[in-house]
Symmetry: C2
Subunit: 139 residues, 2 copies
């Protein structure tokens, strides 16, 4: 049975679902920071997944990254699975821009998170909707 | 024509070649820190690559990560493509252990790099050789 890690739940909002992954938004308005969590039990490393799931994770990750790059005018997409703190497999897909709060450093632990203001998360949901991401279901 | 970014050349050593990627070792003895660089021109984002190259990159990345996890007794593998400083596509595959110099933070910019001592890089080359990685050619 798939259950989200409590730390992931606390630090993010659920945006919707792909066939394999739940799509989260990190509660940090410094960057458009998305997280894909495969809805599988007991997966920590990429190679813990079946070949089929791996291919699907790659598809969801690169498809999302490409769509976000255009929509959010990224200078660079950061794609990473670390898992040193939360061992449940999750893939970060982060829009980076010249001059963002951590640029050019990685985002983790760099500057304190900034809360989203009223309406900002809804605006992100709407931008995702407009992208018509393949096989994506809004929550 | 494929040419390695000068910063990558400066900060790493060439270990060998996979069909798609050159395998590098980061000049930082704090962690067994490997980097895969697709031998393609003008690639910055994952989705800049052909579907075939993407599948091969995933294969080389996950195969390497799995082999390293066992050989180097990793507590967690960190797999990431950031590219904020060096825009040429490169995939970090880093062995992380509880109590390493940056644990549990990501490695980038955390602590100063430590130089490898005499023989240490050769020892790593030998450990890779012993792993008999699929389609890997030592440099």
């Amino acid at each position: 049975m798939f259950e989200m890690d409590s730390r992931l739940q606390q630090d993010s909002l659920v945006l919707g679902e792909f066939p394999l992954c739940r799509l989260l938004l990190s509660k940090d308005a410094n960057y458009p920071w998305f997280i894909l969590v495969p809805k599988r039990e007991g997966v920590s490393e990429l190679f813990d997944m079946s070949q089929e799931d791996q291919a699907q994770l790659w598809k969801e990750t690169t498809g999302l990254a490409e769509a976000l790059k255009g929509e959010f005018a990224a200078d660079k997409m950061n794609v990473a699975t670390l898992g040193n703190v939360v061992s449940q497999m999750h893939m970060h897909v982060i829009v980076r821009r010249h001059g963002d709060a951590a640029w050019p450093a990685p985002v983790w632990g760099r500057v304190p998170a900034v809360e989203y203001g009223p309406g900002q998360v809804d605006a992100i949901r709407q931008r995702l909707r407009a992208l018509s991401l393949a096989d994506y279901q809004e929550a």
